[in-house]
C-alpha cells in the first residue's frame, strides 16, 4: 500500500489522521510547531490576566477570573498532550519556550494596566482566538481537533464573561466607561494582528491549507472577526479606534484601516512591552519548581523499586 497516497486520501476526504497513522515528516513537524506554540500561548496567556487575580474588584469577578486562568493552564495541558501524541516531549517543548527558542502568541506581550483589560481580553482577544480556533475543531489531525473542541467551548464562555464585565462597567461610573474605552483603544489593533500577516506574506499558509491543518486564510479569519466585533462594539457603546472602519455593502463586509505591521514584527521579534517579562516569569516558575519535579520523579522511582 502506498502510505503517502493513503494519507492524502484521508486528508482529502476530511477524515482524521490519528497518531499511529503514517504521515509526512513535514506534516508532523508543522503540527508539532503549531500545537506547541498554541500550548505556550495558553501558558504565557495566564500572566496578563493572572496579574489581576489578587486585586479583582468583587468576589464574583475574582472567582470568574481565577477559573478562567485555571482553564488556560488546562488548555495548555491538553495541547501539550496532543503534541506528545506526535512524539514531542513536553519537558523539551517547555525548555524551548523558556529559552526563547519557540514562540507564543504575541498578543500576550502587551500589558494589562487596568481591570477593564480583563474584560477586553475576554471580548477581543478570546474572540479573535475563537475565530482562529473554531476551524481547528475540524483540523485533519484527530487529537488536535478533539482538544480544540473543548478549548473552543471554554474560550467562548470566557469571551462571554469578558463582554459581560464590559457591559457592567459601561453601566457604571464615568471613570469606568473611560477605562473600557481606553482598553479597547489599546487592544483593538493588536487583536487584529492575532490572525497573522496578510495572506500574501504568510509563508506557512499554503501548505497548511493543503494538509487541512489550517482551513481558512489569515485575512478571511480577520475579516470574520471584524464583522463579528463591530455590532458588539455598538451594543457596548464603545468606539473602535479606526476611522476607516465602515460597512461595505458591495462586499457584504466591513472595510477597515491599515494594520501597522511594523509594530507586529517588532513585538514578534521580542521588543514588545512585556516580551522579556513574560518569558522570565515562566522561566522562574519552571526553575523554582525543578526541585519539586525532581522529588516527584525520585519518589515514583523509589516506589517502583519497592514494588
Amino acid at each position: 500500500m502506498d502510505l503517502e497516497r493513503e494519507f492524502e486520501r484521508v486528508v482529502a476526504a476530511d477524515h482524521r489522521v490519528e497518531p499511529r497513522d503514517w504521515m509526512p515528516d513535514g506534516y508532523r513537524a508543522t503540527l508539532v510547531r503549531q500545537i506547541a506554540q498554541h500550548a505556550h500561548s495558553e501558558i504565557i496567556g495566564m500572566q496578563p490576566e493572572g496579574n489581576w487575580i489578587s486585586r479583582a474588584p468583587s468576589l464574583r469577578r475574582k472567582a470568574i477570573l481565577l477559573a478562567k486562568v485555571q482553564d488556560e493552564a488546562g488548555h495548555g495541558l491538553y495541547l501539550y498532550a496532543a503534541a506528545e501524541t506526535l512524539g514531542a516531549d513536553r519537558a523539551e517543548l517547555t525548555e524551548r519556550l523558556v529559552e526563547g527558542r519557540q514562540k507564543y502568541s504575541s498578543i500576550f506581550n502587551y500589558p494589562t494596566p487596568t481591570y477593564a483589560d480583563v474584560g477586553v481580553i475576554g471580548w477581543l482577544v478570546d474572540g479573535a482566538a475563537i475565530c482562529n480556533q473554531v476551524p481547528l475543531c475540524r483540523t485533519s489531525y484527530g487529537p488536535y481537533a478533539r482538544a480544540m473542541i473543548r478549548v473552543c467551548k471554554e474560550e467562548s464562555f470566557h469571551q462571554r464573561q469578558g463582554y459581560e464585565l464590559l457591559m457592567t462597567m459601561m453601566s457604571g461610573t464615568r471613570q469606568q466607561r473611560a477605562m473600557v474605552q481606553d482598553a479597547v483603544d489599546r487592544w483593538w489593533w493588536p487583536s487584529l494582528m492575532m490572525f497573522g500577516p496578510p495572506d500574501a506574506e504568510s509563508s506557512n499558509t499554503e501548505q497548511s491549507m493543503l494538509w487541512r491543518i489550517k482551513r481558512h486564510t489569515n485575512d478571511e479569519l480577520r475579516q470574520r472577526f471584524v464583522d463579528m466585533s463591530v455590532p458588539q462594539a455598538e451594543k457596548l457603546g464603545v468606539t473602535l479606534p479606526d476611522p476607516d472602519l465602515v460597512w461595505n455593502a458591495e462586499r457584504g463586509h466591513h472595510d477597515f484601516g491599515e494594520i501597522d505591521w511594523s509594530e507586529f514584527w517588532r513585538v514578534v521579534k521580542g521588543d514588545g512591552p512585556c516580551n522579556q517579562q513574560r518569558v522570565a516569569h515562566r522561566r522562574r516558575a519552571h526553575e523554582d519548581g525543578a526541585w519539586v519535579r525532581d522529588a516527584a520523579a525520585e519518589y515514583a522511582r523509589k516506589k517502583e523499586r519497592a514494588a
Binding site: 501558558i43 495566564m46 500572566q47 493572572g50 487575580i53 489578587s54 486585586r55 474588584p57 468583587s58 468576589l59 464574583r60 469577578r61 475574582k62 472567582a63 481565577l66 477559573a67 486562568v69 485555571q70 493552564a73 488546562g74 495541558l77 501539550y80 481591570y115 474572540g127 473554531v134 476551524p135 475543531c137 475540524r138 473552543c152 467562548s156 464562555f157 469571551q159 464573561q161 459581560e164 457592567t168 462597567m169 453601566s171 457604571g172 461610573t173 471613570q175 469606568q176 482551513r215 481558512h216 478571511e220 470574520r224 458588539q232 515562566r282 522562574r284 516558575a285 523554582d288 519548581g289 526541585w291 519539586v292 519535579r293 525532581d294 522529588a295 516527584a296 520523579a297 525520585e298 519518589y299
Partner: protein, 294 residues
C-alpha cells in the same frame, strides 16, 4: 465559511456565544431561617469561617502561573476556588444575619484589618513569595485542610441550616484538599534530600501557628449547637497528622508556638504584619473606585 461555530451554540442563544451563565446557586433550596441565638455572635462566627477561607484563598491564588507543574497550577487554583466559594457563602450569611445591609463584597473589600477574624496561619506568606516555597505551601495545606475538614465535618450538624449546608458542600472539597496535601507530603518527604529538607523546613514554618487553631473563642462558646468548639478538633487532627507523618517518616516539628497578643489573635482581629499588605492588594481597586459596579 464553514458553520462549525453553530455547533458551539446552545438553542436560543445569540450566535456568537456558546454557553449561558445560568449556574444554579450553590445553596439553592436551603432554608435560610436564622436560628434563635445571639445574632451578633452568629454573624461574627460566619465571618471567622468566611475570612479563613477568603484570606487563605487569596494566598493560594498567588501560585497561579507560578507552580512547579501545570497540573499543580490547576490543582492549587482549584483549591483556591473551592475556598473562595465557601467564603462567598459564609460572608453572605454573615451579612444576612447581621442585617445591616452589608453584602459579601462590602465585607470583603471595605472592612479594615482589625475587623478580619481569620486565624493567622491563613494570612502568612508561605510561598511563592519570600516567606516560603512549595514545601511550605504544602505544609500549610496539610495543616489547614486537616483542621478545616474536621471542623466542617462537625458543622454539618449545626442548628444553622445555612452553616450546615455550607459544611456539607465543603467536606467533599476539603477531603480532596487534604488528600492532595498528604500525597505531596509523601512525595516531598520521600523524594530527594533537598525536598525532604524543604518539607521539614515548611512544617517548621507553619507549626508555630497551630495552637491558635484549637483555641476556643468567646464567640464559639456563645453558640452551642450552632458553632463548633475547635478544642474538640484536636484529636482528629492529631490522628490524621500522625498517620501522614508516620507514612512519610516525619517527626512533629519541635518548635515553639506564636503567642497571642494580650490574649488576642486572628479571631479577635489581631494579625501578623503580613495581613495589611494582603488586604491593601486585595482591596485597593474596590476602595479606589467608589460607586463603581463590577
Amino acid at each position: 465559511m464553514d458553520n462549525a461555530y453553530d455547533g458551539l451554540t446552545d438553542a436560543g442563544e445569540e450566535r456568537h456565544w456558546a454557553f449561558g451563565t445560568g449556574f444554579t446557586a450553590a445553596l439553592a433550596g436551603v432554608d435560610r431561617a436564622i436560628p434563635d441565638v445571639d445574632r451578633a455572635a452568629l454573624a461574627a462566627y460566619c465571618l471567622m469561617l468566611g475570612d479563613d477561607a477568603l484570606v487563605y484563598s487569596q494566598r493560594l491564588a498567588e501560585w497561579c502561573s507560578r507552580a512547579p507543574e501545570l497540573e499543580e497550577d490547576v490543582a492549587l487554583a482549584n483549591i483556591a476556588l473551592d475556598l473562595l466559594g465557601q467564603a462567598r457563602l459564609l460572608l453572605t450569611r454573615a451579612g444576612e444575619v447581621e442585617a445591616a445591609g452589608r453584602d459579601e463584597d462590602t465585607l470583603a473589600y471595605l472592612r479594615d484589618e482589625r475587623e478580619f477574624r481569620n486565624v493567622r496561619l491563613t494570612e502568612i506568606d508561605c510561598g511563592p513569595g519570600p516567606g516560603g516555597d512549595f514545601g511550605t505551601t504544602i505544609a500549610r495545606l496539610l495543616v489547614l485542610s486537616t483542621w478545616r475538614l474536621a471542623l466542617l465535618g462537625q458543622l454539618t450538624a449545626s442548628a444553622d441550616p445555612v452553616l450546615a449546608a455550607v459544611a456539607a458542600k465543603g467536606v467533599k472539597e476539603l477531603a480532596y484538599h487534604r488528600d492532595h496535601a498528604a500525597q505531596w507530603v509523601l512525595r516531598l518527604a520521600g523524594g530527594t534530600d533537598v525536598s525532604r529538607a524543604r518539607m521539614i523546613a515548611g512544617l517548621e514554618r507553619v507549626w508555630p501557628f497551630t495552637d491558635e487553631l484549637f483555641t476556643t473563642h468567646p464567640v464559639e462558646a456563645a453558640l452551642p449547637g450552632v458553632a463548633v468548639d475547635p478544642a474538640t478538633l484536636r484529636a482528629e487532627f492529631d490522628q490524621v497528622i500522625d498517620t501522614v507523618f508516620g507514612a512519610a517518616d516525619l517527626d512533629r516539628p519541635e518548635v515553639r508556638q506564636v503567642a497571642p497578643l494580650a490574649g488576642q489573635a486572628g479571631r479577635d482581629g489581631v494579625h501578623t504584619e503580613a495581613m495589611g499588605f494582603l488586604l491593601a492588594e486585595m482591596q485597593h481597586i474596590a476602595r479606589s473606585t467608589p460607586g463603581a459596579v463590577w
